[in-house]
Amino acid sequence: MVRIRRFEEEAGKLMEDGKIPGALHLYVGQEAVAAGVMAHLSNKDQITSTHRGHGHVIAKGGQFSPMFAELYGKVTGYCKGKGGSMHISNMALGILGANGIVGGGPPIAMGAAFSNKFRKTKQVAVTFFGDGASNEGSFHEAANMAALYKLPCVFVCENNGFGEYTRQTNHQAVTDVADRAAGYGMPGVVVDGMDVMAVYEAAEEAIKRARAGEGPTLLECKTYRYFDHVGIRGMGLTYRTDEEVDAWKKRDAIASFEKLLTKQGILTAKKIENVYTRANEEIKEGVAFAEASPFPTEADLLEDVYFVGAAS
């Protein structure tokens, strides 16, 4: 969670300083969801992520150097600089891409889950999507098919209360996206997405169920993004009040987990500091790597449009 937060804060700053081109959708505030779910997945399990995808990539094992390099558009990035923030992926880590299309992920994860079942592996595919994406037809088609075929698939809805700039109450009549699970014959579970242990426990059950061949679950995590839809700015926005942001920050997943672990004697102030120090070192190293890396060249432009070579 700390690695995700620090990465995002730094990436946002680099974007605002003009060092990272394009648009970054930052995950700050939602860290407990990625961390709590991914704790149950190995590299072999697959995920599909969203436009707000850095947190998922980090929690799935993404390294800062190729991540920063990708954001910088450098050839040493996870996608050789061709995908950027919204398409960051790594097949070896089971990351079937962040996705610039809201609702783009669920059908692909369902397909990966179909493949897992077809190939008789024990892999699970998890698709992350937001409350906004739960209004896209793609989510509904994927949910229906995953339940119909009893696929090893988990639908994790990160309900951060907004579809871009539109409040949930203005974009859907339901309060709990998890209610929609009933329409597809799968369990729907609501969990506090600011509580990493609650996410961890609910995800454990859903993933176990999927792995055991009992079909998909829709897990809705109620969470909040501290920053704006794009970039860092979080306060002084017209579509939400600063009081609302402050109220969510009081329930911050990292702060409360640090408190809990300290109380249990697992963490000390010194140990917490070490976590931040290590994350900061990783960032320094990653940014330096990205800055020193070359941009792709003209020779790279038309590479990777098609597979060229002998068929596998």
Binding site: H87, M91, Y306, S312
Partner: protein
Amino acid sequence: MSEALKNGPRMLPYVSAITEAVRQVLEEQDNAFVAGEDVGQAGSVFGYYQGLLAEFGDRRIVDTPISEKGIIGLGVGAAATGCRPIIDIMFMDFLGECMDEVANQMAKMRFMFGGGATLPITVLTMAGAGMNLAAQHSQSWEAFLAHLPGVKVLMPSNAYDAKGMIIAAARDDNPVFVVLNKMSLAMQAEVPEEMYEVPIGRASIVREGSGFSIFAMGRMVHEALAAAKTLEGLGIDCEVVDVRSIQPFDSETAVASIKKTHRALIVHEAVRFGGFGGEIVAQLQEEAFDYLDAPIARVGAPFSPVPYSPALEKLYIPNAERIVAEVKKVLGI
């Protein structure tokens, strides 16, 4: 005496050539499966998967809900993780339901991932007017697909090519659309029993000629051949080129034909405006301008949705007569 000599050539209708290709691919590739609407119990509304469910079971012949986003998504996710899906989109018109999954996911995933993902997907889909199925079940959208970097697009005009193209598509490690034609299903051609590939990216000269080139796509190849016969009676020796691979397009064969004939017409069933014919014209004038003795003519459907009434549909679909008329116009006769 060989079987062929004893029984004559092995003739198969287009529909059975599709079945045979899919069956052989499923036998060859353990990780291949078919998924789509009514592919299993119904054996496809066009009949080309008849018998495959009984032969391969429901693990490999997968009936899906009517959910094209889900169906293409299933193909993308499965292909990226080690399967070789054959995805069926019953009518090409239904691609409207899943254009995101086709255009933004399937076509781009490999590139966006910097080559990290490989997507061996074959999509079989049915195009074409002629059955009074009206505006949403009769279109030819190959130009949409050809405009998408990352996918390949094939249009078999006959049973031989249908089988060979499906096999080539299934063995290719890219998303390949095989755009079938519903009016060609009963059309017979000689089809070898063994597996063979029709190479992707190669046009076929189906009639040699020296006076005029007709480039035809899909079912229009047969109209072009009929037109060539009529024109022969007028002393015009037409070469008919079956474009058959839309993306990649075989400009080499097209240019070679122009160098021989110096005049050309392009015919496709799709709406003429913005159709693939415009791309062929552009490539020919770029690469063979000096060899052209006349403007390149185009025959396609008028700028209108496909009409329902048999009386109107007949007027709508390009045919041999219109090809003949256009060729004569170019030649000033």
